[in-house]
Amino acid sequence: MDMAPKTLETSRSEILSTVDGQPLKKALARTERTKRFKAILLVAPLLTFITVTFLYPICLMLFRSVENPLVAENMPQTLEVLQKWDGKSLPSELAFAAAAKDLAAARKSKMIGRLATRLNFETSGLRSVITGTARKVKKMEAPFKEAMIQARSQWGDVATWSTIKRLGPTIIDVNYLAAVDRGYNVKGEIELRDEDRRIYVSLFGRTLLMSLIVTVASLFLGFPIAYLLASLPLKYSNLLMILVLLPFWTSLLVRTTSWIVLLQTQGVLNDVMVWLGLFEDEQRVQLIFNAQGTVIAMTQILLPFMVLPLYSVMKTIHPSYMRAAESLGAHRYTAYWRIYVPNTLPGIGAGSLLVFILAIGYYITPALVGGQDGQMISNLIAFHMQKSLNWGLAAALGGILLGGVVILYWLYNSLVGVERLKLG
């Protein structure tokens, strides 16, 4: 029992202290803290920059894909009445009267156009129903049911009312459903869209496929180049390196348009083929403004992103490994495949991941040379941002793309391990 105080005393006497008598542990902790604080202070500008210009917009975009305030704000009375509606037959006169009031108010507050556009995204044709009725609603008298159906016959469709009810909540999933070619039917069940309007799922598939082709192609083209760069003496390899970097420094637009000049049917390549007599003037081949043109141009543009990480990893593989393998009796090729190539795996992983992730979000090149079957999902995101102004759908498509990249990264991490990623 008297052991305890004794140990305490010894440990107390063993506490180390600085010259001015402070316990060393404390002093150390303080310096560490100041250091950490300074480090945070140094990183702070970058951190705020990333938060403001990167994280915040992404969160905003993800929020836009689910938010839906317009209907709730502008048709509150209608939605309240519709809460008790069974959704099977036409709603009662109460709902019509409420809608008439809401439309009149929305016209007064000048929100009618936005409300109409929102409903029109969901059910085509509702825009003019909403704006047209709102124009006449002031002169309408009870019973509103007859008056509104007379103004626009669509008020007599159950579908019109179920669209309004469905878009009532302020947080909704319709954008994500639309982004995978699905939507609600009149009964409120989720179902596939009409076949001739399905596009996004197949486009996501094509985007993945084309990115995969671009990645594999740039790996096959980039690996020998990187190997050559890594194994040549410095004075030659530097020169070659400039050849890799020069296009990397050239504007993306310039490189894409150069491909148009080269590959178009009246372009350089076709001219040369015709001149060589390989085929007749009428048989010129369509090499650009389609999927293969997009793959060719994107592979060339993304190639440096494959070559550079490969090169920097290959540089670190010591030649003595190969020599050791050969001296132990391996054939040159065996040594190459079993010793050298496995050592480049971190570079292959880094390069492939980089090229693939850049490729699935690629926009300008497919927009310029994609034609009709070389478009990628980013082109439709741009379309909904710029032309149809359906920013909710654009955000949902972007959200799915972001989710896809995160999943890929996670897959890579659990299969290969991110710590094995080497960019140099």
Binding site: G125, R127, T131, S202, Q264, G371, M385, Q386, S388, L389
Partner: protein
Amino acid sequence: MKLLKTNKFAIASALAAVAFGVSSASGADQLTVVSWGGAYTKSQVEAYHKPYTKQFGTKILSENYSGGLAEIKAQVEAKSVKWDLVDLEMSDAIRGCDEGLLETVDISILPKGDNGVAAKDDFIDGAITDCAIANIVWSTIYAYDKSKFSGKKPQTMADFFDTKKFPGKRGMRKTPKANLEFALTADGVPARDVYKLLATKEGVNRAFKKLDTIKSSVIWWEAGAQPPQLLADGEVAMTTAYNGRIFNAIAVEKKPFEIVWDGQVFDMDLWAIPKGAKNKAEAMKFLAFSTDTKRLAGQAAWISYGPARKSSIPLIGKHAEAGIEMGPHMPTAANNFKNVVQNDFEFWADRQDELNERFNAWLAK
């Protein structure tokens, strides 16, 4: 010493930039006018901008865009409106007005016609809307390269869709608008029934079925300057285009192109002011100035788009550079105005989401 000089220069230019920035923000001595670029913007610069600057001293910055409401929406929502006046297509003008993206225009600012007729009677039907005032009428037509067809020449909309009789690639705008109308016209639907039919599922199916017949030969364009270029490069044998662009290529650049007016889709372009524009008052002034009888007729001397005022039509003369009589090249000239579809903006404002989706899906197939 040298370093000092460079520094001084840098400081001076920075100061100049600041001073310039302040002066441009402070008032209406500058106006940002946005339009579609190429020959069309040139016609506006010559007919509107230059005379306006000469008369009032206001500097006009001319910017280009390729249509749509996206930029306006982004600027209005961010409450940082950089554009003062925008040249919009009819359907966008209506939709922008509905959604509160545009300022309303008081039509009392529009001057009377030269012949004394009040503005609301002088402008052609539909040219005055709540938020936008039309300056031109234009049409989407198709044109071909004469040198590509030695024998029979294309004459009807059906010929555009007939790749057997007239082989070669086709250029078309990458949008369902106008293309669906063309397809139905080519399929033998009379102009007045086109939109009635397009409002039905069968009609849309029929239009896409017609488009299917040439899909593999189509090269899609997006900017108005592209089709004359595609024709000139020999990339396509015929292409749909805005009539003014093709006229410009024929008259100014002396290209062997020919316009086919049959089945033309007829539309208007309008001036509109984004909501919250910095120089709103000045923009209104410019709007009224540029849509008076003289200026509208003046624009027709630079490009073959028809003026939106009736009183301007008798004043249309010769092309300012090529010296060609402009009258017969207008979409509205009697010889050209035979089988015409007038763009139904209500239809497109209503159905564009669905039809765009279907068009995109059809394209990707």
